[in-house]
């Protein structure tokens, strides 16, 4: 990529991909932005596409900024933010993200250390460990809800009764714990796998040198292994945060947003589909974008500098 011509050739060849990515991002983003400033209640008779149902008609409406809908300014934003559910939803979202991150990083490191030990059947065990990641979120949430956490027939209920205790009604008594458990179970394999590869790339001579330098097992972990893992941990945290901010299926299937498990994503879903208020939901969507960016900036500040090294 040194010469002028090879640089411009590269630009031309990358252009289609860049264009596609832009359209992919900008169309939904601008749609959300426009609608967040509009009153759009389909059940009250608000309509787009008065001209007809074709794609061209929609495109014309979209480009002209949906003239059939009333412009309401920041009314949707103030309405969304002033409802008591909003702050709760933000806190719930952050607690779930933080909880799952903590569980998957800490247990991911421990599991990775365990799997790094030479043992019989290593290959099979590693595949089994990654298996939960392949289960669809909806399915895994249903499995947890019905097979483990059901207060009458669940395995946990049987276990509790076997010891003479009253079964815990997991999803209503400790809903956040249960949700974090379910989501962590799904994301732990991902963290484990990335951390395992990081462990495997740790130079054994470094550990031996530390051993000769008088570092015990704990000192070797904290002074040698953990700094070596910092980059992998950063990647796990960044990638998981992106997906965890948008977690939805697990809540939909288990608590349905009840018992204080309503995340921002879930709140938006309720505003749009249950209240049929698309403008309000779009305003929520914009808040979600802002929240995600705030979290992202914090993460980049705190852990992102690990990537520079």
């Amino acid at each position: 990529m040194a010469t002028q011509s090879s640089r411009s050739a590269a630009r031309i060849m990358m252009a289609p991909a860049v264009f596609l990515l832009l359209v992919w991002m900008l169309v939904p983003l601008s749609l959300t932005l426009i609608l967040s400033f509009k009153r759009f209640l389909p059940l009250r008779g608000d309509r787009i596409g008065e001209r007809g149902d074709g794609f061209g008609d929609f495109l014309l409406d979209y480009i002209t900024g949906f003239p059939t809908l009333d412009w309401v300014g920041f009314q949707n934003f103030s309405a969304f933010a002033s409802s008591g559910a909003f702050t709760d939803a933000v806190i719930t979202t952050l607690v779930i993200v933080g909880g799952v991150l903590a569980v998957s990083v800490i247990f991911g490191i421990l599991l990775a250390m365990l799997l790094d030990q030479p043992m019989w059947g290593q290959g099979v065990v590693r595949i089994l460990v990654i298996a939960p990641f392949f289960v669809m979120p909806t399915v895994s949430a249903l499995v947890w809800k019905n097979m483990f956490m059901d207060p009458t027939n669940g395995l946990f209920a049987h276990l509790w009764r076997a010891f003479g205790a009253d079964p815990v009604v997991w999803l209503s008594d400790v809903p956040m714990f249960s949700l974090i458990l379910i989501i962590s179970w799904q994301w732990l394999p991902f963290a484990t796998l990335i951390l395992l590869t990081a462990f495997q790339s740790l130079d054994s001579e470094q550990l031996e040198a530390a051993e000769m330098d008088g570092a015990g097992p704990l000192a070797r972990f904290f002074f040698i292994a953990l700094p070596h893992l910092s980059r992998a941990i950063t990647i796990v945290i960044l990638i998981q945060t992106i997906f965890l901010l948008a977690v939805f299926a697990e809540i939909f299937v288990t608590t349905g947003g009840a018992f204080g498990t309503r995340t921002l994503t879930y709140l938006i879903y309720q505003r749009v589909l249950e209240s049929q208020n698309i403008g309000l939901g779009s305003a929520g969507g914009v808040y979600a974008i802002i929240l995600a960016n705030i979290v992202a900036i914090f993460l980049m500040r705190i852990v992102g500098k690990n990537l520079d090294r």
Binding site: D203, E205, Q206, E208, A209, A210, E211, M212, D213, G214, A215, A219, F223, I224, P227, H228, S230, R309
Partner: protein
């Protein structure tokens, strides 16, 4: 103090015996080099002494005390690894301080030792850099610095120069030798390079397949190799080993003559051959001679002014006093 004694030390990995029972005495202040072809068990032997591998059987004494079961950190030995094994996320200063920090040494004393080591190794300007920003030779010195500050009973070097380029290797070789003279501490040095062994060692231990073939000073090994293996391994270019009729004349199975102990003539001599490749180094000429019965090619080290070309006929005469004789087992005949 750093006297290390190995008594019947044996190492097996599963059923494979890497090191058969072996005895070795290393005196205080000695520079001992373990040398041998790759896979001869020299690194394993060093790791046994370091405590990074458990001995299968036998006893290791350090300064007269049984250290066989003592963990590596408590053996008062410092090791320099082939990959240097520096901690990449720590600065040079922290790398060097690490063993003292683990020993919970007084910070003022730590600083004093770091400054001393840095000054001795020309690292003062690099103390705040990370290993990734250093050249190979500097990393090597940091690794040595980390070993020095512990003031160990003995230093262990595991092929420390094999990752450096040839010019740097010669320089570091001298630095390590000088360090040994200055510190007067026992050093055990593993290498596969017989030049390093010859130039640095007080005592060379030649190993083959875990067996000690010979122990002795560099010149002892050069002058009186105990068998054909040591004869062929020590010295560069390698000793010419001749079998057959020429050896039988001297009542031996094999006779050996070093390339520098052959007289060259273009007119007359004991053996006749044709020149294959002649390597002119300026100071010397290495001539590979074909056609001598029992040894093909035979290497000759002649003066730099010898003018021979490929295909020339050449006559060689061994210097009788430098002839080595070996019996059917390959052992030296006195």
């Amino acid at each position: 103090m750093g006297r290390i004694t190995l008594q019947k030390v044996q190492k097996k990995f599963g059923d494979v015996e890497v090191i058969p029972p072996l005895d070795l005495e290393i005196n205080d202040g000695e520079f001992v080099v373990f040398v041998g072809p790759s896979g001869c068990g020299k690194s394993t032997l060093l790791r046994l002494i370091a405590g990074l591998e458990d001995v299968t059987d036998g006893q290791i004494d350090i300064d007269g005390e049984d250290a066989t079961m003592v963990p590596p950190a408590k053996r008062k030995l410092a090791m320099v690894f082939q990959s240097y094994a520096l901690y990449p996320h720590m600065t040079v200063r922290k790398n060097i301080a690490f063993p003292m920090r683990m020993a919970k040494m007084d910070p003022a004393e730590q600083n004093r030792r770091i400054e001393n080591a840095a000054a001795a190794l020309n690292l003062t300007d690099y103390l705040d850099r990370r290993p990734g920003q250093l050249s190979g030779g500097q990393r090597q010195r940091v690794a040595i610095g980390r070993a020095i500050v512990r003031e160990p009973a003995a230093f262990l070097f595991d092929e420390p120069l094999s990752n450096l380029d040839a010019a740097l290797r010669v320089g570091m070789r001298m630095e390590i030798s000088e360090l040994h003279k200055k510190l007067d501490t026992t050093m055990i040095y593993v290498t596969h390079d017989q030049v390093e062994a010859m130039t640095m060692a007080d005592k060379i231990v030649v190993l083959r397949a875990g067996h000690i073939e010979q122990v002795g000073s560099p010149l002892e090994l050069y002058r009186t190799p105990r068998n054909t293996f040591v004869a062929g391994f020590i010295g560069s270019p390698k000793m010419n080993l001749i079998e057959g009729a020429a050896a039988a004349e001297h009542n031996a199975q094999t006779i050996g003559i070093r390339p520098e102990h052959l007289d060259v003539s273009t007119t007359a001599g004991q053996w006749q051959g044709t020149v294959g490749v002649a390597e002119h180094l300026g100071s010397d000429t290495f001539i590979h001679v074909h056609g001598v019965a029992g040894c093909d090619p035979m290497t000759v080290r002649a003066g730099g002014d010898v003018d021979v070309k490929h295909g020339d006929t050449i006559y060689l005469t061994p210097q009788a006093e430098h002839l080595h004789r070996f019996d059917t087992q390959g052992l030296r005949i006195a």
